[in-house]
């Protein structure tokens, strides 16, 4: 049974150029930058974020729940995905996992990093049940 | 060839004549029923039904054979109840066994919101002549013992509306019963004759072009399913219609009897049992318009997961066949019947997922319209001009399961 817990991060909606810069910036290793869409990122673990751009929206975001996966758990989750996972790492993939809208931040297990499974908070119970 | 079709072998098939009083495009239920009622009720027998393939090869042979009248607005309830009444005497009238069986329909509700709309539906339907009563979960279970009242723990049944008069009939037999009745009266049924265009005299439509030559007509009726826009384009007629695929499937035989038809407003699916004992299961039409009759695994997945919550015994059955029809869905989910604004061209379309149950009423009222030139009161709400005059019918009861 996966334990999905609330992820406290920062949601930024801004022009794609501004977010490209953010994406490319080097962060300390504890920071995870999840690019949901060209104009939309979710940053986990950053203390302060400064972003250029007049219309950038920067808000604290607690609307997602997630769980860092062991290799074994990731393999189990992958069995519930109908679409092929890309080979590149690290990469964010989004789509139905066990029929529930979810996202996975896939990292290379060779470097000892774990992958993160996350979904919108209202789907937490449904996703947990379906993956059980 | 089955026994039933063999009894029809004495039918006279004809070469097309060059002119008819009425040419009907589309040899499905609505086209053939219109021809049948023109011949039997109004003495108009100089009629041709032009079918691109074989009769009943379109949606008339692909639907889920349910006949019901529990719709959401008075106009619809009255119209479909008329159809339901005509169906119940059709065997007697045509002498053909269409395997008509009155089963009743249970419309399940899982939330208070759905309960409210089912109560409203009961009052409205009963007031308009389609007997529908509210039943509590125990009564629903008594009507259909296979029902899991807990809905697999997810969709508890709070109650249901019971539409007592709902029925099923064998769809291809209905088509053949009308074809046979019409042909015996002298109607020409021209199979494998695709309409490639409309003959025009100025604005007026004066006949049809077919691959086998032109046929002129006093009146042309389009009773086409799915491809109606192609016909309308020939007359530069704009229609509020989109073509959507609708899928269904049957399982292998179930040894017991499933009494009523089970339908569900919230899960958008319905289940009935065929005369062979197979379970016939359907759902909503696909959201995107398409002319493709490709069936999909996604549909099977989502549909089976829903119906097995309500009827757990379905888990032990196997899926035999899955198929798709393409249906013309109108912008307000109600049929479009009558004049088109183009002289000489009438239309019956927008039958979406509710065409089979309407065949007798649609056919007989359209025949009356053609014969008398006057729109029968039951058809008045369903004219094409309702969109321009802001009188579209918002009937959520129209679609397959709502």
């Amino acid at each position: 049974m996966l334990a999905l817990e609330t992820l406290h991060g920062t949601r930024i909606v801004a022009a794609p150029e501004a977010l490209d810069a953010l994406d490319a910036a080097t962060w300390s290793t504890s920071v995870t930058v999840l690019r949901f869409a060209p104009d939309d990122v979710f940053v986990l673990g950053a203390e302060t974020i400064s972003i250029s751009g007049e219309y950038a929206i920067v808000e604290a975001e607690s609307g997602f729940v997630g769980c860092w996966l062991t290799d074994e758990q990731l393999a189990h989750v992958a069995e519930h995905i109908d679409w092929p996972l890309p080979v590149e790492r690290p990469v964010l993939v989004q789509g139905f996992v066990a029929g529930v809208p979810a996202k996975i931040w896939l990292t290379s297990s060779a470097t000892g990093e774990r992958s993160l499974l996350l979904c919108a908070a209202p789907y937490a119970c449904e996703l947990t049940e379906r993956l059980a | 060839m089955n026994e039933f079709v063999e009894t029809l072998l004495d039918l006279q098939w004809h070469e097309p004549k060059s002119t008819y009083d009425v040419v009907i495009i589309g040899g499905g239920g609505h086209g053939l029923a219109t021809a049948y009622y023109l011949a039997t009720r109004h003495g108009i027998t100089n009629v041709a039904v032009v079918e691109a393939n074989y009769i009943g090869s379109g949606n008339s042979g692909r639907n889920t054979t349910i006949i019901r009248a529990n719709y959401g607005i008075p106009e619809s309830v009255r119209f479909y109840q008329h159809s339901l009444d005509l169906y119940s005497t059709l065997e007697e009238e045509t002498g053909c066994w269409i395997m008509h069986a009155t089963k009743g329909l249970l419309w399940l509700a899982h939330t208070e919101t759905a309960m409210r709309s089912e109560r409203a539906r009961c009052l409205l339907n009963t007031a308009c002549g389609a007997e529908t009563v509210m039943v509590d979960p125990q009564a629903a279970k008594a009507i259909c013992p296979q029902l899991d009242l807990s809905g697999g723990g997810r969709y508890p049944v709070l109650g249901a509306s019971h539409h007592v008069g709902a029925a099923t009939a064998r769809h291809d037999r209905v088509v053949w019963a009308y074809a046979q009745g019409a042909m015996r009266m002298g109607v020409h049924v021209l199979q494998n004759t695709q309409v490639t265009g409309l003959l025009r005299d100025g604005e007026r439509v004066t006949g049809v072009q077919t691959a086998n030559g032109n046929i002129s007509a006093g009146v042309v009726l389009s009773a086409v399913g799915g491809n109606v826009t192609t016909i309308a384009n020939h007359a530069e007629l704009r229609l509020p219609v989109r073509t959507h695929p609708l899928q269904a499937f049957v399982t292998n035989g179930y040894a017991q009897s499933l009494g009523p038809i089970i339908s569900d407003t919230e899960l958008f699916c319905y289940v009935s049992q065929t005369a062979r004992g197979q379970m016939l299961i359907g759902a909503e039409f696909d959201p995107q318009p398409s002319y493709s009759t490709q069936s999909s695994f996604n549909f099977l997945q989502s549909c089976t997961s829903k119906v097995t919550h309500l009827l757990p015994f379905l888990k032990n059955l196997r899926i035999l066949r899955q198929w798709t029809g393409i249906c013309d869905v109108s912008a307000d989910f109600s049929p479009i019947i009558g004049h088109t604004g183009v002289d000489g061209l009438l239309i019956t379309t927008g039958w979406g997922t509710w065409g089979f149950k309407a065949i007798p009423a649609g056919g007989s009222l359209m025949a009356e319209l053609i014969a008398t030139g006057k729109t029968p009161p039951l058809l008045e709400p369903f004219g094409l001009d309702r969109f321009a005059s802001d009188q579209a019918l918002a009937d959520q009861g129209s679609t397959g399961t709502r």
Partner: protein
């Protein structure tokens, strides 16, 4: 059609997407303004062939994109994040 390629997320099963409708067009031959309005609101081209339409990837990036699809074969010829008003398509 079983799969659609989201320009952001990649190839996904069709049930991850919501259909957003074709681009409405009104034929030039209709000149009366009121009739044009009725046509724009209610009538559909319902093309048997290639249509240009909007799709929303609700299970993934939650962004709208544009697809060109053949409604006879359900083959998807192109998907992109072009703006709805883009006439290049």
């Amino acid at each position: 059609m079983l799969w659609l390629t989201c320009p952001i997320c990649g190839r996904r099963p069709i049930d991850e997407f919501s259909f957003g409708g074709e681009f409405p067009t009104v034929p030039d031959r209709i000149t009366d303004p009121a009739t044009r309005d009725v046509d724009y609101v209610w009538m559909f081209d319902n093309i048997a062939g290639v249509t240009t339409e909007r799709w929303f990837h609700h299970a993934g990036c939650r962004r709208w994109h544009t697809a060109r699809r053949d409604t006879i074969t359900d083959a998807v010829l192109h998907t992109g994040i072009e703006d709805a008003t883009d006439t290049v398509l």
